[in-house]
Point group: C3
Chain length 385, copies 3
Amino acid sequence: MVSRGEFCSAVLAVFFEYDTNKIVHIKSKKVGLINRFIQLVIIVYIVGYVIVYKKGYQEFQEPYSSVTTKVKGVSLTNLSQQLALYGGVHVWDSSDFVIPPEEDNAVFVMTNMIISPNQTQSTCPEDPKFPNVKCTKDSDCPPLKPVENGHGLRTGKCVLSDREKNKKVCEIYSWCPVEIDELPMPGNNPSKHMPLLGAAKDFTLLVKNNVQFPKFQETARNIKSTGNASYLKGCHYDPKTDPLCPIFKFDKMFELANITFEDIAFQGGVMAIIIKWNCNFDPLAYSCEPKYQFTRLDDSKSPIAPGYNFRFAKYYVKDNVLYRTLLKAYGIRFAILVYGEGGKFSPIPLFLNLGSGLALLGVATVLCDIVVLYVLQKKYFYREK
Amino acid sequence: MVSRGEFCSAVLAVFFEYDTNKIVHIKSKKVGLINRFIQLVIIVYIVGYVIVYKKGYQEFQEPYSSVTTKVKGVSLTNLSQQLALYGGVHVWDSSDFVIPPEEDNAVFVMTNMIISPNQTQSTCPEDPKFPNVKCTKDSDCPPLKPVENGHGLRTGKCVLSDREKNKKVCEIYSWCPVEIDELPMPGNNPSKHMPLLGAAKDFTLLVKNNVQFPKFQETARNIKSTGNASYLKGCHYDPKTDPLCPIFKFDKMFELANITFEDIAFQGGVMAIIIKWNCNFDPLAYSCEPKYQFTRLDDSKSPIAPGYNFRFAKYYVKDNVLYRTLLKAYGIRFAILVYGEGGKFSPIPLFLNLGSGLALLGVATVLCDIVVLYVLQKKYFYREK
Amino acid sequence: MVSRGEFCSAVLAVFFEYDTNKIVHIKSKKVGLINRFIQLVIIVYIVGYVIVYKKGYQEFQEPYSSVTTKVKGVSLTNLSQQLALYGGVHVWDSSDFVIPPEEDNAVFVMTNMIISPNQTQSTCPEDPKFPNVKCTKDSDCPPLKPVENGHGLRTGKCVLSDREKNKKVCEIYSWCPVEIDELPMPGNNPSKHMPLLGAAKDFTLLVKNNVQFPKFQETARNIKSTGNASYLKGCHYDPKTDPLCPIFKFDKMFELANITFEDIAFQGGVMAIIIKWNCNFDPLAYSCEPKYQFTRLDDSKSPIAPGYNFRFAKYYVKDNVLYRTLLKAYGIRFAILVYGEGGKFSPIPLFLNLGSGLALLGVATVLCDIVVLYVLQKKYFYREK
């Protein structure tokens, strides 16, 4: 058994002794230069690229974001009087063309539409454009079978179409009369591919974005409370002259995204408003400002359902009968995507990068050892040592 | 003081000299094997698992996503004529049962409902099911005190219920008559737990998803513009035969999520459509395709508010009085969750992993040193050295 | 050429030999203590801070989340009879003041409003508050030019204002009469800055949150299916007494966010309900519970568009004319932000941290070498060795 005194002195020895590697001192310009050069490259990579350029001393977080929007503008249509409530001169303001009135991180602005007025629950001939609705006799129309992708369920009768002369189609239970799914609507369009709400070009969009970095307990807004109110109220975003103005003119956004208004407004489409936050929360280098980018997200040449549209209905009651006006809304969906990251000093990534870098520095020595041991001429001499 | 010449030669010496550790060469099969084995394990771990299998040479980013949807289908109800505008044969199409008409990353399809027609602002007896509304005299009903979770504010009167015979309840200011909160509604339901819009089983959902990886300046879509249009228009997703078709039949989704249509459609529920992108943007191994998964998110056995429903109203005016039809909509909320990551070669994670791995290799030497110094028999000999 | 036997024995030699550094054993209390202290600091940092405290042995993922909400409450207004359909005693329930009826990760509750009843498509004088609408003669009003941020397009006539006596303004095509954009509305407000739906203070919000961690194939809900149903139905969240109750009273949330109800409800605002999940999926330390936090997101002192509001319209038809009631809705937008992360043991981060830490331990030796070589008194002796 080990006596207590011996044990203690052994423990103390461990604490008070120090082992270091015995070093062989080699004087060789070649080996020295190679060694220093490899070390230099690694140090420059670690310190210059990883730590300084890529901010390897910081911990990062992507922002949590909340976006609210406001669209301003009015547009006028002068559609044919057949469109009942929407015929003649009709002014559209933001509560008419922003649907739904608010969304999180997105806003939809209707720029074109197909209006089907005065629909009621009844029976009527289906649109002959659908497959499997043409018929010659009643038995071609199995009762209560829905028309695929169509407007209703077959009643079991084969009737004359109200659209194409002398063609017989299945009669359906539906909201009648069924929609005429064709653009443009008859009316005031000067050109064939001009959207109905052509004034949308001049609409403006106000974006209020609040980002949070809970890891650092930091928060930032795209509208500074120290801003100049009268400037902010009247400004329009421009990447060069007004890069921090939060009000965007539609045509400016399309210009910056390299698309034309007619392209996206006639058939609809999805635009991304990208807000990039690159925030540095280190006290000495504090900066946190958004950058805006614009790009079209959807594929205008998509093989199915190109553009962007959806249908919605407005209901009303007349003489105790439920009516609806069906609108097929084409328009621009702005998706506001908040990118970026905030960084703040943290010892963990710094030491992780440093430690990893030091290990890489070890590579230099290993490589040199190889050079010294196996490549250089005087190798036998060194190996002996 | 050091002379300039001395200083320079000292500096040069540092650059042209090279220190390497003096190495003790030990010939021992045991120690050598242990050492090589530990090194092998570490190298296999670093190179095989971390770098190759887990793609340790890549930088990753989760995608930023934009999703739009389109639901197609029609369903027919034949409710009792008491339901005024909604009684009798009534066809529901997507603009009726998709509420709101569009949402970001989600779509709600109403499959069941409670309709409360012809409500007006007035006074009426509260539903006796609520606590604290039963009364025997007017003083049990403090005026203007709201009924907890109820339909209105007490008027101060105690009146006979319109629902339960010979029961007295507080009268309230409310939209009257108040909703009868019971499923199913009287009508065409063949079975007790069949949702009203039973045809929803055969509805289809088109999902258009655009993902972006700003770090790599890459973008991808679930509908390829090079796709076969006629195929895409008619296809239905199937994990085996049509894994890239973006049109989903409702019953297929429920089947893949292991739930039945009746379960989720009668009481409502939340389904996740998970789109997994695993993209590799390295030029030689470029691949970026979505995978779809389906799962039910909500807890059908939740102790409070199981299923999914919400109320909304349709307003109309008759004889200068505001009316509303209140709908309690039960249905399926599809949340489209976009998961995954894109990866691309980057030196930082590669060198981080390599550096860290080299450091681990050092562990092998340390372990062997321990073995050599303290464990093996010839230790005294080695320590001396 | 090397014979096969020679080659084999050389390869075997590599496998069965082992190089270790020759060690210089230095007995010095000073150097030993410094060395041990630096090593101790690094080990405590790596093991104690990085690995244990910061869970360096775990892989993390932020949750994917789905949130649904339900608001309960009723409020009563008694506005002037001029407001047509909304005049007199009017009860507002959740289907009236939650707009739209459902949203993903958010809910808007209207607390104040400006109602513009009975608007029709027609011509009327613009609100004189807008710039460039005051006029003296018709030529001041270029026809079809829209009023900037205004309600319509100029007809070309200069007419008397219906708002300010003896002032002439441009006539516009618009929904007429145009909105009187002033708070508060004439009616039952006891104080000047009391929102119309003052009872919103007592509304409750039920939040159902489902989070997923696909990396670990884990899922969690804020309402446990094992919960006590009767407790959950009646409870109200309180950070101390009911920290897991998913029903939030509005005034409790404002109290916890350090704001007053009147502040946010009169002009509107954006509140964040932050749900923090800190989940540990390691089998022995399994825990996954949400924590709730409340904070106001928007800047009540924003230089432009302070507060939160949006306009929406309700349409109706009378005598074949389309009417609308325009509501400018002020209210509280609750954005439900789901933060946090789930962690589970993974060898990659553990070995990454260990490897990096071992490399840092190397720093200790390097520092000691420097001390030994250049600083301590007996240096000449050691260098010789």
